[in-house]
């Protein structure tokens, strides 16, 4: 009754328009590229200076000057463009990307995002996350609805260090699709097996309704 990460990626992909410029975060969001609906083609951006790259090459055919932000090998497509890092982040901050999809530890009803640090232990690393949350026309998060221990990841206020303030516009969780509108979680879709009360019990802030709530379903992937 809950979506797998692959199914969440499929669901997120359904909202990407033909011709959109898209940045996918390292890890699970990278899977979104595999599920572009037929007839639509998005152009993917990676922080290290590529627009319009293709999927991973077969093992043994990697070219390590042709990698994505996760340092994984990718391939060229017709129409690929290379550029330096300052131009790459001009695309990010300058409002040129249509969609950025990131993972998250916590999302607050204000749209605040925490996805770069789990606290003072270990080595801190931020990469491009703080830049990516500013500038893209839509900043979406793809994540499990609750933590491994069952605690809500959709919360009133983030407890972990922030990546950005008021930046997230939509969350694709394993149980629901939720928009953030004027500092409130607005429920758009939920898995049909779950009642609204049960979903609310797993959510750390009030779920508001604004029109009908659709069924969140995805094919077996």
């Amino acid at each position: 009754m809950r979506l797998t990460p692959t199914q969440m990626a499929w669901r997120a992909a359904q909202d990407i328009e033909d011709g959109a410029y898209v940045n996918l975060g390292i890890g699970q969001p990278e899977m979104v590229a595999r599920f572009q609906p037929p007839g639509r083609e998005a152009i993917f951006h990676t922080e290290n200076g590529i627009l319009g790259f293709g999927e991973a090459p077969p093992p043994g055919c990697e070219d390590w000057d042709l990698i994505n932000a996760g340092k994984k090998a990718v391939t060229l497509k017709s129409g690929t463009a290379f550029f330096h890092h300052a131009d790459s982040f001009a695309m990010v901050r300058g409002g040129h990307l249509d969609v950025a999809i990131l993972g998250a530890y916590e999302v607050a009803e204000s749209g605040d995002l925490a996805n770069w640090s789990t606290g003072p232990r270990g080595v801190p690393a931020v990469g491009g996350a703080m830049d990516l949350v500013h500038g893209a026309k839509r900043v979406a998060v793809m994540m499990d609805h609750v933590t491994k221990d069952g605690a809500p990841k959709l919360v009133r206020a983030c407890s972990l260090p922030l990546t950005g303030v008021g930046c997230v516009t939509r969350v694709y969780s394993s149980l629901a699709v939720i928009d953030i509108v004027a500092g409130r979680f607005v429920l758009r879709e939920k898995v049909p097996e779950l009642t609204l009360d049960a979903l609310q019990a797993m959510t750390g802030a009030t779920l508001h309704l604004d029109g009908p709530v659709g069924d969140l379903t995805a094919p077996d992937l």
């Binding site: 000057d65 290379f82 300052a86 982040f89 080595v123």
Partner: protein, 244 residues
């Protein structure tokens, strides 16, 4: 005008204790492995240079290149955005033991600080980091109703960069995503040293194709078939090699 240098040792001979050194590359892509290893060779032979401040996107991977530079204890401070990698053991141990200082900078801010340094812009405002721990203590100003954080330029004594084709005047092209920080770092350092896979005479690069104009480059050294960090790490390499 001929900016050609004979070999990697000559290329890094001017780097002294306490200097700041920008090192190009995003992970292994664009990393100037031969120049970094030449710097390690000099340190092993003379004890210098040390106490370096290194600016790179990452913190090295495995035991070659930047990781090897850190492993030798030559780096006092690292300015980077993402000090993690597939095998980050060298930086992680140095950091946890307090042997290296980390200044963490969001990646786009790092790139723009370097660009600003090269362009003569001492500070700029960015939305990145506003309201986060990485903007603490930095001036904030509102423009058109949104808050922005003031960030300073970043310059360095040296830049070590890998490009693809270079001419003897220092004009450069890069290879695919190995371009990343290279053009910015060449602009922001007093002395930019570039290893190129192919050195050509002036006229050997189409002027329309030049990415870094030679004015930003002080030295060029030809290293055909440069080592690639990812390939070295997959082969389990270390630098310097441990005698069997």
């Amino acid at each position: 005008m001929d900016k050609t240098l004979p070999d990697p040792a000559a290329a890094v001979a001017g780097i002294e204790d306490g200097m700041s050194v920008m090192i190009g590359g995003f992970g292994g892509s664009g990393a100037p492995i031969e120049l970094i290893h030449a710097l390690i060779d000099r340190y092993l032979a003379t004890g210098h240079p040390k106490d370096l401040t290194v600016i790179n996107n990452n913190a090295g991977n495995g035991h070659v290149g930047l990781a090897a530079l850190i492993e030798q204890g030559m780096v006092a401070t690292l300015i980077c955005s993402f000090p993690r990698s597939a095998d980050p053991v060298v930086f992680t141990e140095a950091y946890k033991a307090g042997r290296i200082t980390l200044e963490l900078v969001p990646q786009g801010t790092l790139a723009e600080r370097i660009r600003a340094g090269g362009a003569g812009i001492p500070a700029f405002y960015t939305p990145t980091g506003y309201g986060t721990a990485l903007a603490e203590g930095k001036p904030v100003e509102e423009f058109d109703g949104r808050p922005y954080v003031r960030e300073r330029w970043l310059k360095a004594d040296y830049a070590l960069v890998r490009a693809h084709r270079g001419d003897t005047m220092g004009n450069l092209t890069y290879r695919m995503a190995a371009r990343n920080f290279g053009p910015l770092m060449c602009m922001a350092a007093k002395v930019s040293i570039v290893q190129v896979s192919e050195l050509v005479e002036p006229g050997g690069i189409d002027p329309e194709a030049v990415v870094t104009p030679g004015i930003f480059v002080q030295g060029v050294v030809e290293i055909p078939d440069p080592a690639q960090e990812e390939a070295l790490n997959r082969a389990g390499s270390r630098y310097p090699e441990v005698p069997a």
